[in-house]
Amino acid sequence: MILLQVQSTTQPILLFGTMGMLALAIGLIVFIIFHQRRVIRYQSQLQEMEEEQQKILLNASIRWQEEERQRIAADLHDDAGPLLATARLYLNENLVHQDINTQLQSIYNAKQIIDDTIQLIRNISHSLMPPTLKNFGLESAVNDLFQKISGSGVVNASSRFHDYRQRLRPEQELLIFRVIQELVNNILKHSGSSFIHVTQNYNEDKFFIRLHHDGRGITQADFERLNKSALGLGLKNIQSRAKVLQAKIEFERDPSETYFKVTLEVPIEDYEMSN
């Protein structure tokens, strides 16, 4: 064998050097291949998780839409339907055969019922798109909402908008308002807090909404866990709206553990502070 014939000092160096270099080279290539395989596996898992999350959000969105439709259908069927049917009863064909006072009374009653129906339909419409938000913007809509909450005397709700000199796009305002509404709704239902305070800031192309309350709250870990479970439809709606806004939402507890904070960070590039 050639290896046995090696006698000079150069040849062992040559053989071992070559083997060492080859081992290093092959080791490097194997490392790269294994690393790539691990990255591919990680990417596949990431994609599966993203698809799963998308599915959960889509289901939540569909469920929310269905619930909203059912609520509107119930409002129209249970409230508007009977009211209009009653108005129709007052204005039936026999009305012409009755005396003038009864006719006037019937017409008056029918008018009252129709007014009530108009008010009811207006309320349904307002719940779909708050007029204050449409006409006066996010700050007024939040103030309006908080005045109603504070009016109950149970929770002290207040808001302060520091850098809201220019209105956002209507769809952005509606989404932000819905997120605030859902957060406030959750606080009222589950936290038992005595105050809710919302602040708004604008910094480095980002529109910040911060909501504080002193009740029982959730942290980011809870939010992510609930988002992945079948529970927490409202939280999934918040998540899907934040996704549409390309916003980040963060749930945290302050270090003193006296209150919980939710931060909504919406990237808005064309916002002008000077206006």
């Binding site: 040849q11 040559l14 070559t18 270099m21 080279a25 290539i29 790269i32 790539q36 990417q43």
Partner: protein
Amino acid sequence: MWGITAVVGAYLVFFLITAPHDAFDSIPTGITSLTLLIYSIFYLFERMNDPSSLYLFSSPVFWIVVAIIIYSAGTFFPFIYAKNNMEEADFKKIYDLIHDTLYIVKNVIFSFAIMIKTKPERKYAGKTISKKR
């Protein structure tokens, strides 16, 4: 990287002009092998960090670089020692064994690289990667 290319290129040109032509040119060959190794390793690490190239081993360039690494790493020591030891029969045998084997391995990997068809790229987890083989 361009600096290494310029220095090595200048040295090789200088060596080509000044060196005698009756012996094996160990130093320029060794330097060439080292330069190729450095470039190849640099290329592989660059590709590893590039999120768009997930299926690296489905690319012909990857296999060409692998062939260059194996050949350059394996022949580095034989080339370095060749100038002073080529006259020895034992050395010549080992040199031929290493060089010829690696030459065949290199050409086989080159053939494999030539036969690989580049897959069309597709979107995957928000990034562009080659289709899984």
